[in-house]
C-alpha cells in the first residue's frame, strides 16, 4: 500500500472556518505552523479528507493548497525545531 505524503496550507478571513479547518486537519496530520499541516495518508484517507475539505472551504474567499511530496523529497526534507512526521501506525504508550 503506497502512502501519500502531503503538505496542506490554507488561509481564510473567517475565524470560524479557520478553526474548523484546523480541527479537521488535526484528525489527519500534524500541525507545523498556524495554517500548515503535514500528513501521511492512504489513498482512501486522502479521498475522505478531500471530500471534507471541499465541503468546508469557501471557494470565493479562501485559499487552500495540498502539495504532494514524492518519496525522495520527503527523505531530503530539512527541518529545524521539529521532528519528521511520526508513523501513525506505531504504537503509543501514555
Amino acid at each position: 500500500m503506497r502512502e501519500l505524503y502531503l503538505v496542506i496550507a490554507y488561509d481564510t478571513p473567517d475565524d470560524r472556518r479557520r478553526a474548523r479547518l484546523a480541527k479537521l486537519l488535526k484528525g489527519f496530520g500534524e500541525r507545523r505552523q498556524y495554517s500548515v499541516f503535514e500528513a501521511r495518508l492512504t489513498r482512501e484517507q486522502w479521498a475522505h479528507l478531500k471530500g471534507k475539505l471541499e465541503a468546508l472551504v469557501n471557494k470565493e474567499e479562501d485559499v487552500l493548497a495540498v502539495y504532494f511530496l514524492p518519496p525522495e523529497a520527503v527523505g531530503r526534507t530539512w527541518r529545524i525545531g521539529h521532528e519528521g512526521l511520526k508513523r501513525l501506525e506505531d504504537p503509543d504508550f501514555v
Binding site: 500500500m1 488535526k26 484517507q45 501513525l88 503509543d92 504508550f93
Partner: protein, 332 residues
Amino acid sequence: MAEGGGGVGVVYVLENEAYLSKEGGTLKVSRRAGREVLLQKPLIAVEEIVILGNAVVTPALLKHCAQEGVGIHYLSPTGTYYAGLTRTPSKNAPARVAQFKAYLEPTWKLALAQRFVLGKIRNGLVFLRRNGAEGWERLKEALLEAERAQDEEALRGAEGRAADLYFRAFAELLPEEFAFGERSRRPPRDPANSLLSLAYTLLAKECESALLVAGLDPYVGYLHEVRYGRPSLALDLMEEFRSVLADSVVLSLLNNRRVTLEDFDDSEGFPRLRKEAWPKFLRAWEGRLNERIQHPLLGKRLAYREILLAQARILVKHLLGELPRYEPFAVR
C-alpha cells in the same frame, strides 16, 4: 485490525487517571485532574486502545469506536482482561454457521482440536531446539502421541505431557534467578510465570480480534471446552503461537536483562510486574507482533499480527470446505 497490509495503530494507556476523549478527528488522552494533554493522535490511525488503569472514556469516543470497529480493552494490573468493546460479528455469517456445524460433529471437532494441539507441540519443539534447550527431543514422542490420538482424552493427555516437558525445558533457558519448577497461574507464583501470563492475555486478545475480523465467533472452540464468557476459539488459535510469540518475548526480555527481579512487586503475595516496567514489556510485545516473516502456506512476508489474521482466514476456508484440513502456522 487492519484489512490487508499496513500496521495497526495501538494506543496503550498506562496512566491510571487518564481521560480519553474525542476532539474533532483526534483521540485526546489527558490526565484527569488538570488539563495536561498526554497524547493527541488522529483517530484514523487508531485501531485498538488498550487500557491498563482506570481511564475514563467519553461517550463520544465510545460511539466512534463502536461505529468504526475500534477495539477498547480494559486489562487489570496483572494483565487479566476484564472488559472491552470488540467489533460486532462481521457479515460473514456462513463462516459462523460452518463453525457451529463443526463443533456439533464429534469427529470434525476432534480433528480440529488435534490440529491445534499438533501446531502447538510442533512449534514448541522448534522453539526449544532453536534456542538450544536440552530435552527438546522428548517432545517428538508427545507429538507422535497426539497424532495417533483417537479421542479427546488421549489428545489432552498428549497435550498435557508435552506442556510439562516443554515448560521444564523452557525454564532451563531462563537466567538462574528466574528459573521455575513448573508453569503456574491464577496467580502465577514466580516472576517468569507472571510475565508469561501477561503475554498470554495479550495474545488471546489478538487472537480474539483476528477471529472476529475473519467472521468467526471467538467463544465457540474445539479444543477448549465452551464455557460461559470463555473465548475458547481464541484460546484454540493461540496454541500454535504461544511459543513463537509470547514465550519468545518473555525469554528475550529476561535473558537480555531488560526485565530484572527489581521490576516485580511482591506486596500482594505473588509477583506482579511494576507499573513502571509495563512500557518495556509492551514495547517488546509490539515489536514482536510487527516483525515480518515468511508465511509458509501463503508464500508472503507478513507481520505476525497479520499472520494471526491469515490463520483465522485459513480456518474459515477449512470450515467452508475449501481446504481439506486446517493448517496451523508452522515456524521453521
